[in-house]
Structure formats: C-alpha cells, structure tokens
C-alpha cells in the first residue's frame, strides 16, 4: 500500500469535521484510506500502531492537522491530498474584500463573553488535554461550565471543581454528555416539557432515558444537571452531585428530585444519601448496577431507569404509570415461538453506556452470565471486543470503538457492522438496540437503521431462522427526529419496539430464560459455558 503524508499547519479542527472531510474525500476520489488527525502525542502513537506514521509527520504540533492518504494505486494519492486541502480550506469562511476586512469570529472565552448577551454558561467540548484550561477561564469570568470533554487530567478536574465551589458555580463534567438548564438543552439532549422533577445524573443516556419517560408520562423536568462520570469517584468526591442536590433543593420549581448514576465510591455514596435525606424534598436514587437498597423516609431507592421515572412521576403527580408488562409478555411469547433451539444468547449493541450497564444488571438478576467490554464484574470482560461470547452487552460508545470516529449515536456504521455480524451467529436469540434521539444525535437514525435491520433479519432467515431485533427509542414527540415516525420506521423493518430501556432488557432476559427453560425441558442442555 502506498502512503503519502503531509501537515496542514496551525489549524485546529474537531474530530467530527476531520471525519467529514475524510468521508467526502474517499467518496469523491475513491482513495482507499484517508486519516486526518490533529498532531497530538496520542494521535501520533495511534498512527504508529496503525503503521501510518512517517517522518514527515514527526514535526506536527497539536495545532496542526496530520494528513495521511493510502492506496494500492500511488497515482490516486496526489489527487486525494489535493481534495483534502481544498476541503479544509473550503470549510474556512470566505467572502469578498468586505468580509475579509471584517473581524475574525471570536476564538477565546474572553472575547465570547465580551460580545455575548450576559453569558452565564460555557459549553466546552474541546479535546480533553485543553478542556480544563478553558473551564478555568470560564469560571474565572463567572460562567458555569458544562464540560463535555473526556480525558481531563484528574488534578485539573479537582482544581476546577475547587474554584467552582469557591465561587458557587457549577462544573458539569468532565465527560458530561447532557443537561437541561432553565429549559435550555445542552449537548446530547431531548426536548422535554418543563415541570416539577429535577434530575442529577452521572450518566448521560441514563438521564436522557429518565427525562424522556417522565415527559412521555405527562410530567416535566425543572432542571437536569449532569455531573460527568468521574464526579462520584472518591478522588473528586461527588462535588457536583452534592452541589446539584443543593441547587435543586433551592430551586422553587423543583418538587421532586431524582438521581441517576453508576454506583458512587462508598464514601461518596454515603454523603449523597445523607444529603438527599436532608433537602426537604422527596428524592429518588438509582445507583444503576449497585446493590439493591431499601428506601428510607423521603429517599426512594430504585434499580432501573424505568422504575426511577415511575417513582419520580408518582411523587410529583401521585399517578404512577403502569409498566407495559402485558405487552412485553406477549412479545416474548410471540418471539420465542419463532426461534429454533440453538438460539439461546442475547446480544445488546448499545450506543448508550448506561443502557449497557442496565441490561447487564437486569440480565444478571436472573443468573445469566453477561460478558461485556464494560462489564459490571471484571471476570466478565470480553477477551476480544469484536467477538461476542454467550450473552454479551456491548457499549459501542466506549473508547475502543470511538478512537478516530464519531460517537455511535451520530455514526451508526460500527453498530450496523456489528449487527450484521451477530445476525450470522446461529446461537443468537435476539438483539437489543437503543436508538437515541434528541439534539446531538443522528438526525434520522431509523433511515439508516431500518434497512440494516431488514438485511440482518433476511440474512438470518437465509440461514433458516428468525432474528428478533428489539429496539427502544430514547426520545420524545418534541425531539427534532420525531419519536413516533422513528418508531414506525423501525417497526416497519420488523423490529420489536419496546417503550423503555428497562423493558427492552426485561424482554430480552425473558426470551433467554424461556429458551434455556425449553432446552432444559427437552433435556438437551449442553454446558457451553455461556450460563452459570
């Protein structure tokens, strides 16, 4: 393979823009491989490992774009490289002399503050190594911060949270994917009505699912405060989660508080529960994947996202919504009737990390062994993330799948590939997919996913079996992608639509249990190491 490398100096572009340029270049020039990365140390290591590093790139600085094109046919390289350069330049604003003379748009937070209408929040999604610096600048200038960026050094995270606490400002994140502050959706966020329920959460998709269910059951959200996944570690101490609780305690519109998080470090957990008991408002706590705990006083403990939404709605409106158990039961019976005995295993292919943990929690609760790239127990870690074993739940949003490509909520490519691969596996009983709507996510996921589901099902049918695909859509009727349309398109492709992440996991679990029970009943149980 012939490789050609060059540098575009002094121009930062985020990975999504670079990805877009790569895709367009491949489409237009037919070159086999285009890799565009900023010249950071870790990106250079990545190129090294991929065998794409060259001496020409050694001098690249973090603010330079590294350009690598590769093809069997060397004559294609120059054209591809020209295309890349023109796309990079083409993305820059251009205009006549008048525009050229006009001022460049603001680059710094200071200038942003100077021209903004009383800015009070910075939404920061720059690369992790730079993110805390921008957050600190924002805090010093009186802004609250939502830090979407991940890979922020822990010392810097601690430093910015200290300054924020001193100033009474909020740092949501690092690694905070979603929030709704005063009705303004930030990051990946669904459109939900405003109401009496305030949320605090260390898990992005968990918050999204809970707020969507609350909305779908007629209630609304006062505030949704994301904390980022590291906040509840003992190093950070749950600073933001505790601060969020205080904010919601003081917020007049908030009548009920719900917390969604992976289990915090024990000391943090204790502090959060203590604080929750003292704010004078009912609090629903879901530490997903943790040990079940008893409710006490105004603190209600739940163990699934659906249960969390139900409790919160019940407390806010005293009309607890019904679980769709009947519908799920019918679905399970219908699906199982179509399966052949070899179809025993569940495969969850999630774009939301919280959904992946929740599925594991629900599946494990009936004694299934679930392997994952993000396992609840280390012993269940997949040896090879590309190869499922037994019951498997994959978080496709975790680092091993997202280096150099957009998140699976935006780019369904990796997930569709995996879906087709699983469809080829005769031991698969059903596949579970989440479809996340809202701002930040793919503008029309069903349009991409429905044909892929058709192909997967057809492939299985070609091998003499049915492949049930269970989907749940995390979204609302007010989301830009239109919830009902998305569901209809997926159902039309033959997907089984379930109303919640928890319901989807329960349905899958019931299918697995029933297939195993049928197996037992017919005395053909084979110990394959997939169950315990």
């Amino acid at each position: 393979m012939a490789i050609q490398s060059s540098i575009k100096a002094n121009l930062y572009k985020d990975s999504v823009s670079l990805m877009r340029i790569s895709q367009v270049t491949v489409a237009r020039t037919g070159v086999q491989r285009v890799t565009l990365l900023m010249g950071t140390r870790s990106n250079k290591e990545f190129l090294q490992q991929a065998g794409l590093m060259s001496p020409a790139l050694e001098d690249a600085k973090p603010g330079d774009i590294m350009i690598v094109v590769a093809d069997e046919a060397p004559e294609k390289l120059a054209a591809a490289e020209r295309e890349i350069h023109s796309l990079i330049v083409g993305e820059e604003p251009k205009g006549g002399p008048a525009e050229a003379a006009a001022e460049a748009p603001p680059r710094s937070i200071s200038r942003g503050v100077a021209i903004a209408d009383h800015a009070d929040l910075a939404l920061i999604s720059v690369p992790g190594p730079y993110a805390a610096a921008e957050a600190l600048k924002a805090l010093r200038q009186g802004l609250n911060v939502l830090l979407f960026s991940d890979n922020v050094p822990i010392k810097q995270e601690q430093a910015i949270k200290r300054v924020a606490a001193q100033k009474g400002l909020l740092v949501m994140g690092p690694d905070c994917g979603t929030a709704i502050i005063n009705g303004v959706p930030l990051g990946f966020a669904n459109v939900v009505r405003r109401g009496a329920i305030g949320l605090v959460g260390a898990s992005g998709t968990g918050l999204q699912e809970v707020m969507c269910q609350i909305h779908r059951h007629g209630q609304g959200i006062s505030q949704a405060i994301g904390t980022g996944s590291h906040d509840v570690s003992s190093e950070v101490g749950g600073i933001t989660m505790l601060q969020g609780l205080d904010l919601l305690a003081a917020d007049a519109q908030t009548k009920v508080v719900a917390i969604v998080s992976k289990p915090p470090a024990p000391d943090v957990q204790k502090r959060v529960i203590e604080r929750a008991g003292k704010i004078g408002k009912p609090v629903v706590i879901c530490f997903l994947g943790g040990e079940p705990a008893a409710s006490a006083g105004d603190v209600h403990r739940t163990s699934s996202l659906e249960e969390t939404a139900r409790q919160a709605v019940a407390l806010a409106a005293s009309n607890q919504f019904e679980r769709d158990d009947g519908a799920i039961e019918a679905l399970v019976t219908r699906v199982c009737a179509s399966l052949v005995p070899s179809q025993r295993y569940l495969r969850g292919l999630y774009s939301g990390g919280t959904f992946c943990s929740e599925a594991q929690t629900i599946w494990r609760s009936v004694g299934l062994r679930v392997r994952s790239n993000a396992p609840l127990a280390e012993a269940d870690r997949l040896a090879d993330v590309e190869a499922s074993e037994g019951h498997t739940a994959i978080d496709l949003g975790s680092d091993e799948f997202t280096v150099g490509r957009p998140h699976p909520m935006i780019d369904y490519g990796v997930r569709i590939e995996r879906l087709l691969k699983e469809a080829d596996d005769p031991t698969v009983a059903c596949i579970v997919l989440d479809v996340v709507l809202g701002y930040g996510s793919h503008p029309n996921p069903a349009e991409i996913l429905a044909p892929a589901i058709r192909r997967a099902k057809a492939a299985a049918r070609g091998q003499g079996r049915e492949l049930p695909v269970i989907c749940f859509v995390c979204g609302t009727d007010a989301d830009p992608q239109a919830y009902e349309t998305q569901k209809a398109m997926l159902a039309d492709a033959g997907a089984e639509i379930v109303g919640s992440s928890s319901g989807a996991a329960r349905a899958a679990q019931a299918i697995a249990s029933r297939m195993a029970a049928d197996d037992n009943a017919t005395g053909r149980r084979v110990m394959q190491g997939g169950e315990r």
Binding site: R111, H118, A133, K137, F148, S149, V184, P185
Partner: protein, 481 residues
C-alpha cells in the same frame, strides 16, 4: 458547601466551544448563544493552555494571580497613558550619557554575541569600530569584534533604542527625550541620510563613516542649539498625535511627523547664532529624509514604556526588539528577563532586483512603537502603508481592530480618524496574545542579509509566539512559587 444557586437563577446564555453539533439544542431553544472558533492557544500545547488559565483575572477573587496581574496592568496602562515624552536635548556623544561605557557597542534587540550576529549587524559593528577609530581596516575591525575586547549590550538595557541594527557607539550623538511625568530619559541615535548605504543597515563603506562624522560635527550641534531654543523642549506626543491625523503610523511612515519637526526647528535654528550654511545643511538633511523623525518617535515610545516597566505581576510588554536573529520581548512584571523566539522574514515589497531570498530576518528596536500602541497598531491612521503588503485601506483598519484584541486599553492621545477617532490600541498583554493566538503585527523595513547592502524592502512581520508563550509560563511560575 457554599453553592449559591446562581446557575439556575439567571437566564441561561451560552458560549460554546469545541465540537460542532453539541449546541444545536441551545440554538433551537432560542437562548442566547455565542459559538467560538476555538483553536488551541499559543503554541498548541496543553501545558501552555493550563498555565494561561492560571493567569485569568477574577472579579470575585482579588487574591488570585490573575486579579493581581489585572491590577498591575491597570497601573501600567495609567503610566503609559499619562507619559509626556518631550525632546529636551541632544547628547553630543553617547559617552556623555554613559561615562563608563568604554568600548561598549549597543545593538538592537535582545542580547547576542558577535559570532551569532546576522550579516547586517556584523557590518554595522565593523562600521562603528572604524568610526570610533578602534581599528584601521574592516578586517582588523572584525578581528577586534571577535577578540572579546568589545562589549556588546542591548540598547534597551541602557534606556536607548536604535533602528535596524541599532548600533550605538560612544562617539555617536543621541536624541534625548524625557518623560516629564515619570522623569526618566530615553535615547536614540540620529537617522543617517544616504539611502541604502547606512550603518543602520549594516553598511560600513568610507562614505558611511563620513556620514556619521557629519552627524556628529554638524547635525548634532545644530539640533542641540535648535532644541535649546524651544522653551521647555519639544513635546512629542501632540506632534505624533497630529501626524497620525496626517497619514503617518510614526514607525514606517514619518512623512508628516518629519515635516512638523522641520517646522518646529526652523524658526529656532534661524534665531540661533548658527551660521546660515550650517542651518541650511541641517534643514537639508531633515528635509531630505521622510523617516528622519523615526528616532524621536522611538525615543518617545521608549521613554513611555520604560516608565511602565517593572510593575510587579504586570503581564504587559514593555519592549519588543529584534536583533536580526531573534525577537525578544520584555514584560513589565518580569524585570531582568528577555523572552526570545526566532525572527521571521518580513512580508512585503522588495526594491527592484531583490527578493525574499536576499532578506535578513526582522531586525531593529523600532518595534518599540508598536509596543507603545503606534506603528502597525495605529495602521488605520496610515492607509498608504498597506501598499507595502499589497493590501487595501480596509486591511489597515483590520490591523488596528485586531490588535485591540491583544491589548488592554486605548490611548486617547493617539486617535484614529478612520475608526471614528477611537484611541489606538495600547498595552500588549502576553496573556491575550497567547489566548487569542494572535501575534502582534510590526511594520518594518527589510535589510539585506549581507553586511553593507542596505535596505531592500519594507513590509510587515509578526513577533514569534514563543516569546509570549514563555512569558506566560514565567508568570504562571510566580503564582506557583
């Protein structure tokens, strides 16, 4: 826990930076949104970004390092704006000003040793040695310079500034400018006439040395008498202010300022007892060189910026200077240090027969004018200047607008008619340069890289980011220490 519920009390108004698409919800909600065109700051390393963030001021935390810096900078700005540079005298010889200088040659830019000097500066050193009669031939002069028996030092460290190579030797006469507010004095050598062949561009031919002698024996005594005849000296700030309104930037264009100086000295010279021939010779010299005023402009800026130097914690640049190899900056709160980076080749027009291949990297102390908020910072006043870089008058306005993003104030004493008489931006803050990744622009002449070849063009150049990044690092260290 003293969390005030401020996050939820205000109407949410968002500044967004980084990956595209994450603020779509903000946009759709109708909340105010400013999307930044974010780029990594400074040289692009995360370390600099973090250092810089430590230096941001905070109105609710007076003790944090950034707030200390802000207060120091306010003091510095006050000193700059209240400076009153006045041309008070001519020193007949530099050795009068610095009696202990012995065989010292002052040069432009940050410190540099003989063997590291660029061609033009070496040429000027040879010329100055010949002028001082310390050697008889250029070859002997070079040997002497290399022998270690000549001391080299930056003009800036002596309260002086020199254009281009900026060489000041003990016999040279100097303009003396006093800042009446702070009392300090600044010095600059006189402009040689003689086109391309001048010591400041590294020429040392016999006629160059003769020109220097003429300055010493004719021009200096006459101008000394002239300034003595102006009661209280000649206030330079009003003169420079007026020149801006007449199309000068008082760095690379001094046509108007030179005329105003000519007017000021004419009457004084005629009233003096100086012979008619010498008066004529003096006026002819001034009148023949559109750039004659530059020495006074530089000295005025130096007198201003020296008064602003040495305020602890201040992040304001008090000197930008180039020795033809490196650019160095001095920062008010970081006394005794130069922060250097490699000098670029100016971008601009070349005289017929020359090209960028012949050009020496940026050289001279004249960027003291930009440091004081003139030159390229006041480019809006001098639209004719942009022809050097093939630009339009709009570009001239853009320079002045952009430089406002790296400065802390505006000088009401130097207004820009084309920008509705707003004051020229002044007070370069190393923090802002790094934060905006915007290097200060400098108007400059271009020297030939070989000694003795003289001026080959003019244009604009930018100070290297490394100077500012290093200064930010040094300021952050104060905080850590």
């Amino acid at each position: 826990m003293n969390a005030a519920p401020s996050a939820l009390q205000n109407k949410t108004s968002v500044i967004s930076l980084g990956a595209s698409d994450l603020d779509r919800g903000v946009e759709s909600s109708g909340a105010p949104l400013v999307r930044l065109r974010w780029q990594p700051v400074g040289d692009g390393t995360p370390e600099v970004a973090w250092s810089l963030a430590q230096l941001v001021g905070d109105t609710t935390d007076a003790d944090c390092l950034g707030s200390r810096i802000d207060r120091a900078n306010a003091e510095v700005l006050e000193r700059i704006l209240t400076a009153q540079p006045v041309w008070v005298d001519i020193a007949a010889h530099a050795s009068e000003v610095w009696p202990d200088m012995g065989r010292t040659l002052l040069h432009a830019g940050p410190p540099i040793a003989w063997h590291d000097m660029c061609g033009p500066m070496k040429g000027a050193v040879v010329g100055a040695i010949l002028y001082e009669d310390w050697a008889a031939t250029p070859r002997e002069a070079e040997q002497l310079a290399a022998s270690g028996r000549i001391r080299f030092a930056p003009c800036h460290e002596f309260g002086a500034v020199g254009p281009m190579t900026g060489i000041i030797s003990p016999s040279m006469p100097l303009f003396v400018v006093q800042n009446k507010t702070a009392g300090n004095r600044a010095y600059a050598p006189m402009m040689e006439s003689g086109g391309a062949k001048t010591l400041r561009f590294g020429a040392f031919a016999p006629e160059v040395i003769e020109g220097l002698k003429l300055i010493e024996t004719v021009l200096a005594p006459c101008l000394k008498a002239a300034v003595a005849g102006i009661e209280g000296g000649l206030p330079l700030k009003p003169l420079m202010s007026q020149s801006l309104h007449m199309g000068d930037d008082v760095h690379n264009r001094n046509t108007a300022a030179t005329l105003l100086l000519y007017r000021a000295v004419t009457e004084s010279l005629l009233k003096s007892s100086i012979s008619r021939d010498l008066v004529h010779e003096t006026l002819r010299t001034i009148g023949a060189d559109d750039m004659f005023f530059l020495s006074l402009s530089m000295a005025a800026c130096k007198a201003t910026m020296d008064a602003a130097h040495g305020v602890p914690f201040s992040s304001i640049v008090t000197a930008m200077a180039r020795n033809g190899v490196n650019v160095g900056i001095r920062v008010s709160g970081l006394d005794g240090q130069w922060f250097v980076g490699p000098a670029d080749i100016p971008v601009g027009l070349f005289l017929p027969g020359f090209s960028e291949a012949d050009a020496n990297p940026d050289i001279g102390d004249s960027a003291i004018t930009e440091t004081a908020g003139l030159g390229a910072f006041a480019m809006a006043a001098a639209p004719a200047m942009v022809q050097f870089v093939g630009g339009t008058p709009q570009d001239a306005l853009r320079y002045s607008r952009e430089m406002a993003h790296v400065t802390i104030g505006r000088n009401p004493g130097f207004t820009l008619p084309m920008l509705d008489f707003i004051g020229a931006p002044v007070g370069i803050d190393v923090r802002k340069v790094v934060d905006e990744s915007m290097r200060p622009v400098i108007n400059t002449a271009t020297a030939h890289k070989e000694p003795g070849m003289g001026i080959i063009g003019a244009g604009v150049v930018q100070a290297p980011m490394k100077c500012f990044v290093d200064a930010v690092g040094a300021l952050a260290t104060i905080g850590a220490g």
